[in-house]
Amino acid sequence: MTSPDHGALLERSAQLALFAERLAAVRRDRRGRLVLVSGEAGIGKTALLRAFCDAPLPVRVLWGGCDALHTPRALGPFVDIAEQTGGELAAVLAQGAAPTEVAVALASELRRTPAVLVLEDLHWADEATLDVIRLLARRMLQAPALVLATSRTDQLGSAHPLRLALGELPADAVERVALAPLSLAAVEQLADATDVDAAELHRSTAGNPFFVSEVLATEGGDVPETVRDAVLARAARLDDDARAVLEAVAVEPSRVELWLLEALVEDVRAGLDACLGSGMLVSERSTVGFRHEIARVVIEEALPPSRRALLARRALDALTAAIGRRPDLARLAHHAEAADDAGAVLHFATAAGERAAALGSHREAAAQLERAVRYSASLPRAQRAHLLERFAYECYLTDRMGDSSDARLLALEEHRTSGDRVREGDCHRWLSRLAWFAGENGRADSEAQLAIDLLQPLGPRRELAMAYSNMAQLRMLTADEAGAVSWGNRAIAMAEELGELEILAHALNNVGTAEMRVDVPGGFEKLQRSLAIAVEHDLQEHVARAFTNLASAPLDHRDYARSGPYLDAGIAYCLQRDLDAWTLYMVGYRARGELDQGQWETAEASAREVLDLGRAPSPTHVAPLVVTGRLLARRGEDGVWAALDEALDIAAGAGEIQRVGLVANARAEARWLAGDDDAIQVETAAALALALMRDERWIAGELFLWRRRAGNPEQPAPGTVAEPFALELAGDADGAAAAWSAIGCPYEAALALAHSSSEQSQRRALAELQRLGARPAAARVARRLRESGARDVRKGPRSSTRENPGGLTARELEVLVLVAEGLRNAEIAARLFASERTVAHHVSAILRKLGVASRGQASAEAARLGIVER
């Protein structure tokens, strides 16, 4: 810490030198970079950044921080930064613009002149802030900015959105710096002039610089056992006036304006100077704050409840009556709750929630509305129900399905008591949707039926149309196509009558998708109409859903010519609008299509694109996990079962045939490739029964085929499996191979050929599998040929992957050679006719496989392994 009482920073010169060097690189290349500084609370993140920025820098410094409000200010750090820049950024923030516009304004601000951009305490960031960072990351390469971000390591789980945001930057533009505690030598140096036992101090503080400085500031003999004791001991040395100021500042999680302090304490001047002099508080531009958040929390928690409430009351009154710019709603809601003022909580927390929702900070919106719900007992029924439903919706958007369900049930109770049948029915419709997400398909069905039963007698209205469409969607998702069409058509008719376009788009999608699955003419046209309506009225989620289903239904039937254009258009549409969940879903589908068509490298890259983002496992991960598992199995590499077991876990939860079948077939193939034929019956039994029940002929066909290849003679009933499978199952392997070739699936064609009775076909299959790099399959076919007496069966070239010591694929080798030449990703991409993103994936794979941290080390390793010349 730059504590005024202890002078310079110890043991941080390497980090300062790194910052200086990166800043020089940013200015030279006019290309942005990010350094993420992490470490536990009190380790000195802020102090390090301050030390760097306080030294004369050749560029301007823009400083923004996230605050420790239970529910943070939306876009807090950028509001801070806009105060320093003014201009367009300030203008868009004042208008309450969405994260996209904020990111664009900030990027153009950064392009103007080089800058150091500090973003502090990102572990507290709200979603809108993280959205801006993610969007900024995509634009940062063109901006000469060095972004220095800080985050507490202990609060950044693997699924934290910050990781997602950083994933948008190329690996070589991001660095992580983890700060270590002070060494004993450093503590000895700090304690030198005091009578404190340095060894004892180092032991009890574990070298935490903040803790050390607090202990030394008390100048007492004994070393306190906890940092809390150290802070309180230091505060105890202040007089009453100073303590009053300290306590007042502690109730405000961000910094306190000097004018506000006048409302909080009777005599500011008497106490403030002592606080500043002691170094516990620091002042900055007409505000004061604690030197460290740890100290603030300690002082706040030590406040008697009545004093705490009084200070909050004063802060709330003064902020409400503030002249000029209105204070942030989240801040008002925070004080309202601390003052236990139910009316103010309801007013400000609700307003803060709505504002956060409008900015896309749905997690903060849910938290604010939850706060309001806690104080909602006194509200009139209809109002309370409305609040509960708003809260439930924000929970639904943020994957808090259990809380959403609970809130819907409470709202349902209010509606039932006040006799509002329409809202009651609509609540059942929501509960149905939520039950489906929870994997409780039985309850989803019964709630959907309850909604219809309640609403139907009340006559046509949007809630009833939506209840019909919900039922259609449920039927479609569980592959009951006839049910989907029948309920969906009722929804379509009513939505058209009422002019409810959003419901119409929803219902047309459900019916069209169901019809397309079973090849009913007109399904495709319905989906297209759904798309057109959604595009015309900018119903973005419906556009995304239409593209997804237009692409996925033909892909499930292996119609790549029809699926491809919708995938491309859909991915482009969603990328542009940051509809990430949908983008990833479609990229997963694309990976499947690429794998089917023998484009294994691109399939691998697509799958990794989804999986690398480190989000919690979701249905979106099933397709990319299956693609990854199948590729590893086909190449004879490790890690097959990790991928396929995870896929099975996710798919089993939802119990939908599309996913269950996909996973079962992948697992059957992996078993077959491993020669573990006995396991195939078990892997496929449940999925096959479901596929036959749902009349899913492509899934059932493949399942039958793996069982047959494992020696099971069962024969499908006519018309229950798709044509290429039917041919091979009927003994016409050559015909099946021809059909697969016509469809455009080379691996499937080769495997079919391998099961031909003709030796010539088997030899062709072997050559094709060797060409594809399908080592285990080739080995199996070669063995079969030899066993049936064929001669001169070459084992074929060993997979290239096995030949080089780094375990790199041929493509990764190519990339590594260019990396060793010192080329950047963009240049490599141009040389190899690949996208920059794909190159970035290859580079990270190379670093991982070689076990190195940088491109430089990778080059050295390449030389050591003899891949490139020294």
Binding site: A94, G96, E257, L258, W259, L260, L261, E262, A263, L264, S286, R313, R314, D317, A318, A321, A322, I323, G324, R325, R326, P327, D328, L329
Partner: protein, 98 residues
């Protein structure tokens, strides 16, 4: 309580000074004299060169209570005028949202 207008001309050299005064005024009004004065609203006056003054509308038990409140909160009070009647033609224009 009756309604009063209080003129505080050229009270503060900057807006920030007024902000601090308003904060003190709120605390004194709410905690010490809540039975005697009630702040209704204020109009902030542009006095030139960044200086500001105010016209404040208060309810109070007496003009003396208002002067006492001004003294305790450290505010000027050039004139305290009793209001005879209120004519509301339109609501106040809403200031720019945060």
């Amino acid at each position: 309580m009756d309604l009063y207008v209080i003129l505080r001309r050229n009270g503060w050299p900057t807006g920030a000074d007024l902000q601090a005064a308003a904060a003190r005024s709120t605390r004194v009004g709410n905690e010490e004299m809540s039975d005697d004065v009630r702040w209704i609203r204020s109009y902030v006056l542009d006095e030139g060169d960044g200086a500001v003054g105010t016209v404040c509308i208060y309810e109070a038990t007496s003009p003396e209570a208002l002067r006492e409140h001004a003294t305790r909160a450290g505010l000027p009070a050039d004139e305290v005028i009793s209001v005879l009647d209120t004519v509301l033609v339109r609501p106040d224009p809403v200031s720019a949202p945060a």
